[in-house]
Symmetry: D2
Subunit: 227 residues, 4 copies
Amino acid sequence: MTQPSSLAIVAGAGAGLGQSLLSRFEVEGMTAVGLGRTRPINPIGTFLEIDLADAEATSLAIAELIAQHGPPKIVVHNTAELVIAPFEKTSLNDYQRTWTSMVQSLVILGQSVLQPMVTGGGGTLIVTGATASLRGGARFSAFASAKFALRGLTQSLAREFQPAGIHVAHVILDGIIDTTRSRDLHDLDPSKMMKPEAIAEAYWQLAQQPPSTWTHELDLRPASEGF
Amino acid sequence: MTQPSSLAIVAGAGAGLGQSLLSRFEVEGMTAVGLGRTRPINPIGTFLEIDLADAEATSLAIAELIAQHGPPKIVVHNTAELVIAPFEKTSLNDYQRTWTSMVQSLVILGQSVLQPMVTGGGGTLIVTGATASLRGGARFSAFASAKFALRGLTQSLAREFQPAGIHVAHVILDGIIDTTRSRDLHDLDPSKMMKPEAIAEAYWQLAQQPPSTWTHELDLRPASEGF
Amino acid sequence: MTQPSSLAIVAGAGAGLGQSLLSRFEVEGMTAVGLGRTRPINPIGTFLEIDLADAEATSLAIAELIAQHGPPKIVVHNTAELVIAPFEKTSLNDYQRTWTSMVQSLVILGQSVLQPMVTGGGGTLIVTGATASLRGGARFSAFASAKFALRGLTQSLAREFQPAGIHVAHVILDGIIDTTRSRDLHDLDPSKMMKPEAIAEAYWQLAQQPPSTWTHELDLRPASEGF
Amino acid sequence: MTQPSSLAIVAGAGAGLGQSLLSRFEVEGMTAVGLGRTRPINPIGTFLEIDLADAEATSLAIAELIAQHGPPKIVVHNTAELVIAPFEKTSLNDYQRTWTSMVQSLVILGQSVLQPMVTGGGGTLIVTGATASLRGGARFSAFASAKFALRGLTQSLAREFQPAGIHVAHVILDGIIDTTRSRDLHDLDPSKMMKPEAIAEAYWQLAQQPPSTWTHELDLRPASEGF
């Protein structure tokens, strides 16, 4: 499916899952490019500092990547903007920010990569969801509404671009990803966290599925996580 | 549950369902107030022309209503902003507009009414969903992502305000509502459209449920509609 | 929708919800008939002791009812057979018994009433589900698999009989019903249990929906129940 | 995860997916054993003719396999019993047969393999679902109710055996599998059918997931299939 040296883009490529995805793609010989607001220390492959909610900057950067490397074969949308607060303490700005970071950024990304991918003969777009994609919990109103929106948008993209040979998949991450930051934030035994390398492997396998047998949604959670 | 002369607010009170809801509430002796951008001809009860995505204007208008009539016992969120277009032809502005009209307006409405309703001893908030709340179809990316977001937000509100005695329900309208505008737009036998009075009755029944037995989500569709 | 003196049948009419349903229907002037294995003390309306998993006995009894009263306008399927046990301790017989009591009984009931209801000009069939209709929990494998099956069967019936004017609805009861038996079994404040009269009211309202606006699934739970 | 020479069992190992699964497992050096009523021509690995709804025969055969090879590392439940008919033409026997073939057989299989797998240090059980696992369509009442039941049962098994290190996953096959039989039955371009080898690959990947990152449900469908 995926040729060595073809382009893989991870939008939202911070330390943790983003970098593990780039690493997984690079191992296969792909040209791995990460996009995001904050450059991680020693980033894998190429990293472009960019605000993914900025349509002009993002579409320009991606157009340049495509001019140089051809249309991407794998694109991952992996931006995150978590707000946890009671409804009364969640500001309009919180709602706008989570929506802009997670939904508007997928619109911009999709409009930058999908048509070139169609022209380039196909490819895979994977969108990272969360528990909150399926359940609006108390104190998660901003985050859940944005993650729900992202899922609806991803379904529309899957149905619209499937006939043109683009595989669009939504992955529900139901658990804490094991990163330095998670270990600081959560009082949880790291053995109960999802390893970013294992998630990256699942994304890679999605991108290897032939058109006869595509997954449009799957969940991933630690064996230790109730569900 | 609902006392005569208590306040009922319909946010998004255009001709069709909005007006039928106000009529249903007025029949019960409630003070029916519609809010929306465009005043319908001969509106039921009081109609306030207001942009529901404008936080300041909306919260001020609702504060005045509450000062005059006490906290509402029934509030319906019923704004609509339909966009149907291929992804490539859907602008960022389309996404922002559907989100602002449908999701931001519920945040503003909720932050204006919920705390007074809690103080006032309870009440019901009903949010109008659509087929696109559960399924992101081709050419519905903007509308579906906003309707998904609305559902996630509504679930969070239900879980957060349930302990305080507020019943928050989401209604999935899976069909065309029979209005003058629908009859012009759709080449569909009106006998296959949902009658706004029948939908209003279902909303009224939701508001009558005692706390021992609350519905949080139901669907409504014509007998003629495949599903 | 429902004429006085028309027939209402509740299959699974024990003390609690079954009897409350019959009472609600009788108040409207309907001829209320309960079916079930065990006659409750002072049953509402007519009670026929019958094993609802017995095809011959059930279809014969219903044929006689129809000969006498005409086809039913409302039929409720409300049989219950709860098994809670670890998978290793759940016998094949447990699986067969829950399935036979809940699923086979709906097949037999449907094949006895649906065609006469079509001929009689329509009516409503309501099927009682549970939390376990949507979620297979640990130690609920027998009960959940039967309740899932019941939901699948109900959906097929809804889609098959909708064009013929039969409204088939599935109600998810997510909480403990307040009965003498529940109060003995559960160490739960009865104020946190669902009142059978309130559930019966919701069923009655379903049966009143006009064909333009049918609900096919709704949930009911106490305000005190997490979800 | 999976050691060469460890045991893989496919219950429902006919021509098509069953045989492709055995082939995929054998390629990895596993001992591949197929179970089923009808021996395919030139079966992969070992094939035992057995009625999987027969508790005694099945548990005995599996106990012998375990005595010989140790507990299985991968077990797939893949029995099928399709009935398509209007509700009025579907007999009680049809319902019993689909349930027995698909649900009872999983109970028997699970009670034969799960405890040994726990003792053996873990493993993966994969259950094959269908479109009808999520949607009860017209004329599918028997098949859908059994597939719904299977999904509920699988969820209970997943939740119950996850803490003991067993990965239980449900795969929704939403499309026609490309087999000789499908090509005869369906007037569908084989390029629009799912290749059994590709499905087998997805099952294999599920069995490779580490406990930090388990999928409990995924869908598989051809790019050509609407959803």
